[in-house]
Symmetry: D2
Subunit: 274 residues, 4 copies
């Protein structure tokens, strides 16, 4: 199975490159399943139903979120009717929407997608390790699902790496999101889970984590807000990670994806010319 | 001028690859100046005089530090007699050692090296933006020095990127350290400063940020310490960033460096076969 | 029913005043139930079995803990055989000991004691609000118990106050611990739960939160550790809160208690001369 | 000299009790100098020029601020023309307004007032210890001023207490603000500086730190914002600390002040009936 995960789409710049590139990538690479993190898709903060639909129409099978999940308050409503939109699983009981879902690929394969929030340097939710344990007990890889992907939305590299080992051999891919910078450490762990500390954001990198850089620089130097944060509007880079899975849902190959904009391009060599 | 910056060396595994590879790289790539971040070199925490000397002997011109600068208490003493060992510049007035220094390359070029600590999600020191401003006023690029490198030791990608823009055009390279994960975002900013959010660590990546993974995983799941953190001892990856500078000390080319161990290898194409 | 809660006992100075004063107070005030927070009792960090026994012998019915619960590693063992020692309830599943227990007073009254850790500015555990909800469902005041006391061990005043309102009318007393400073805001909330933001510590107030002041001042000014923290050894103040309950376990009167040492003395007027 | 310091005034409820009580207290107690912390005076967030003038008209000689200093953006402008409004001294160089000022009492006595922000669990500013050192060198007690008061606006009790010892004997009073809860630990330190960990807020205590309690409780339990924070509007308590100074500006007596609202009343016995 061929999986593509795309990191935090930021604002219009990020959405544009999704619309422009994802349909082509889906065809060119013969993708079976695509996940897009959309927590910053609407003006940098949260997601609207229209934007979520746009991602699904462009070729995403599923959209994940993060600490900005509900910045657009409508999401608390429309998430209930959108089973392909996944919010962090460790929000308090009673939070609208799903933190994990089993989604059918076009091929019929069943993919478990879980979105989990880390706790180090973030607003505290319930234990992400206990949360994933529960989800994997309920739906074990190879039994309840054909592939399992965790979008671990977290700040600290230590928590992300520990989380990766914790689920090694039990999920297909653990990919970090939230820092908005792609890491160069994707690899296959000992028990064959694909791992990458952060997918990076999909947006304009001539920015501070996707936002126009003037205001962030001003806030760091003056310690005072002057204006609102606005998404940067230059050419975007689509960032993510590509994984080839075997019949048991474990990783055969993993590679970074970076297309467009200001970062060095990266495409999975194992799917080129295929 | 050819610069190599190597990220946080962790424990014996990290030190071994420095000794094995750095002399070769220095010759092969015709390096003019090498900086090694050594804050985790001694058993994962701090640095000893012997380790610092080992790095200098292997081909480093300069060693930088970070929040672990003085974990080995001896460093408070020997740093006074080692002008090539640079601790964070924004420690309180009266802290032993130097936070910036002008170091002569073998070629005679004068390289300003500054180590700065970020403040987001870290123990608070004084303003890193004001600190670099003072250093650059005292020693402007092209006037007081032929090249200027800032090792910005920080957690948050937002602070690192904002810092990069803040000094764009005024230094040769801003490279982040501290997260122990290499980022895939190195680039040349608009005013020709080379930038990379994190150099990554130099150590065994089959670990949690360089440490044996059992204890970190246990602490995240039990919230209780069971034993001490110990550096992982498997094959290390040397991680860093390579920069080619022009006569004004501004960047002509930048590329990631990853050699050995478990990460995908990366070498600067612009120096291959030269 | 007459309840006395005594805040974080710090080191030998704190233990001495417990031994000297608690037996007298128990008799003089005709106390029915006494709780002592012992998380800093052993050298400032954690608790030993001998110290716990000492508190019970001096007149405590129950000992609570906090973020320092297991600083003395033996506590992970002896807590299993000591039903009167209560650790934070929101530690991960599988943590040794109890986070809540129903303890019989000499009078036969059943007192539910719960220890909960806050999450703001603290290492993240699971939701304290959800945790207390579960405990109160399992053992409602007036049904499963005759009185219920929550030691909410937390840093932020906002979280403590919100927690108080959350359980108002459902417990007898919510008392904060952890800041080591007594607050002057004890009161009876609208539904008759007694509330106090922090009980204060029991120890030497000529100190930094109970510790010799030289090292903390040095760390704040130099940002470097020089030596270990040691409990201050001057005359201690016993700090806490006194509550008179009615037959339903709700508060009739509440008053601060401060005896000995450097703080202005406070004793519950409603029990004087009785 | 008779000094009164009044803690963070929150919203209309807090302002009302200032207007109603301060003129009477000034006369009744024969106050020489009054300081009011006004960082939450305008709707809970920041201060306007009208509110600042209102405090001065009611009998304040000086108004201090905190982390909410510039929540009302106008303050960045009018603070320049209001020498009696003091913002945190450790904001970056170039911040409008003054962080310290020498203010003449009606008696002609010169009172140095300094507002300092702590750094533990707060947005990081520059070193508060170094900042106060500079101010006291520039204007030593007994030489440059007849009295010196520091409003140390900070979260952590450890930082507040360490700060108190750091300036002991060099200022008349160190009083903490920011937690919005009065502490019961006011005392005179060894070198005769009066100290209190927190003055408490001046506002409605049937609230979460001065704000209507529904929204804070909801946010803690749901982890989602539903509406804005609004100041609570019930009867307020005026909270602060009273200090009697000798001819050298050192403390002869210190006592808490709590008037009105839901907290137990406290008035300085040493000024009653005088
Ligand atoms: Fe994001
Ligand atoms: Fe995020
Ligand atoms: Fe490091
Ligand atoms: Fe570090
Ligand atoms: Fe404590
Ligand atoms: Fe504690
Ligand atoms: Fe305040
Ligand atoms: Fe504040």
């Amino acid at each position: 199975m061929r999986l593509l995960f795309i990191g935090d789409v930021v604002g219009r710049a990020g959405r544009s490159i999704i619309s422009a590139e994802l349909p082509k990538l889906r065809a060119e690479w013969g993708l079976d399943f695509v996940i897009v993190n959309g927590e910053n898709a609407a003006g940098g903060f949260g997601i609207t139903e229209a934007v979520c639909d746009e991602f699904l129409a462009a070729g995403a099978d599923c959209v994940t979120l993060g600490n900005h999940a509900f910045d657009q308050r409508d999401a608390l409503v429309f998430i209930a009717r959108q089973p392909r939109l996944i919010r962090p699983v460790n929000y308090p009981r009673g939070t609208p929407g799903r933190g994990a879902n089993l989604i059918e690929a076009a091929s019929g394969a069943r993919v478990l997608v879980v979105n989990v929030l880390g706790r180090v340097f973030m607003d505290a939710l319930d234990d992400p390790f206990a949360a994933i344990e529960r989800e994997l007990e309920a739906c074990p890889l190879g039994v309840g699902c054909d592939a399992a992907v965790v979008d671990f939305h977290a700040e600290a590299s230590s928590e992300k790496q520990a989380f990766g080992y914790f689920v090694d051999g039990r999920v297909s891919l653990v990919v970090g999101t939230h820092t908005h910078v792609p890491t160069a450490d994707c690899r296959i762990l000992a028990q064959r889970t694909a791992y990458m500390t952060d997918a990076g954001m999909t947006g304009d990198y001539d920015s501070v984590i996707g936002m126009d850089k003037e205001e962030p620089v001003r806030r760091f130097t003056t310690k005072l807000p002057t204006s609102r944060f606005e998404p940067a509007s230059g050419p975007a880079t689509l960032c993510g990670v590509a994984v080839e899975l075997d019949g048991q849902g474990l990783a055969l190959a993993v590679a970074p994806v970076r297309i467009g904009g200001r970062l060095a391009e990266a495409r999975p060599g194992f799917w080129q010319g295929s």
